[in-house]
């Protein structure tokens, strides 16, 4: 699946990258990313995930074709 990250997450990951591992849920993806770069785990805990421009919950079922966006807490304004 395709992953896109924003803001501070770009200090831990490429802006966009592929994950080939067969991850079933957002929860599994969050854990997988934390393993890829343990320094990111505190931020990842408070990130939201989105598919097709909609936020998805931890139990959301991912497919290999999904494009997943990882959204850190807002700091606009």
């Amino acid at each position: 699946m395709k992953i896109e990250v924003f803001a501070i997450l770009k200090e831990y990951f490429d802006k966009e990258f592929e994950i080939k591992d067969p991850l079933k849920t957002v929860e599994e993806l969050r854990a997988h990313l934390a393993l890829l770069n343990p320094a990111s785990s505190n931020v990842l805990k408070i990130c939201r995930f989105a598919v097709h421009d909609e936020f998805v919950a931890d139990h959301y079922q991912l497919t290999g074709n999904d494009s997943v966006v990882v959204i850190p807490p807002s700091s606009g304004g």
């Binding site: 924003f6 803001a7 501070i8 200090e11 408070i46 990130c47 939201r48 989105a50 421009d53 936020f55 966006v69 959204i71 850190p72 807490p73 807002s74 700091s75 606009g76 304004g77």
Partner: protein, 170 residues
């Protein structure tokens, strides 16, 4: 009459919620006077020259444009449901924003001033807590920091639950 109607619709329908261009506060303000509105409130979130004790050189804003736009549209729609508003517009900038420049603008207009103030505060609070927009602070000492995150989850225990300033005053 036609003029304000057209510009009013333009403001709400064709509004680019997220833009990399300078925010044109003057144009937005000029199209925010409405014959039934007795009160117009404009908020501009400007970049200031210091934060957490450090001198700021400039900020850079990043947004998930499509999600942030939808979210701002939804926040404005919620505000219109909650208050009787003649005008409700908001625009956030991305890219490099310099000291004294506006990073975000919110304009509300209503018959009486209580609604215009309250709705304005509601809209900016929700944008700051919820919209996928982030700032990176570039300090004059050469350091940079992704900063000013919403930290509500520390109090609410839920990354989707926020503590809004407007709730303390409504």
């Amino acid at each position: 009459m036609t003029a304000w109607l057209l510009s009013h619709q333009a403001a709400e329908v064709n509004m680019e919620y997220i833009t990399s261009k300078d925010l044109d506060l003057v144009a937005l303000l000029q199209q925010s006077h409405h014959p039934s509105a007795g009160a117009v409130v404009l908020f501009s979130g400007d970049v200031r020259n210091n934060n957490v004790g450090k001198m700021v050189d400039y900020l850079e804003y990043e947004a998930h444009t499509s999600m942030a736009s939808k979210m701002i549209e939804s926040i404005l729609s919620d505000a219109r449901k909650r208050w009787s508003l003649n005008i409700a517009i908001a625009q956030h900038r991305t890219g490099k924003v310099r000291i004294t420049e506006s990073a975000v603008v919110v304009i509300t207009a209503s018959a009486h001033r209580a609604e215009a103030y309250a709705a304005n505060r509601y809209i900016i609070d929700r944008i700051k807590h919820e919209a996928p927009i982030w700032k990176c602070e570039f300090f004059t000492d050469g350091t940079k920091e992704w900063g000013g995150n919403c930290n509500c989850h520390k109090d609410t225990g839920n990354i989707n639950k926020h503590i809004y300033e407007f709730e303390e005053i409504l």
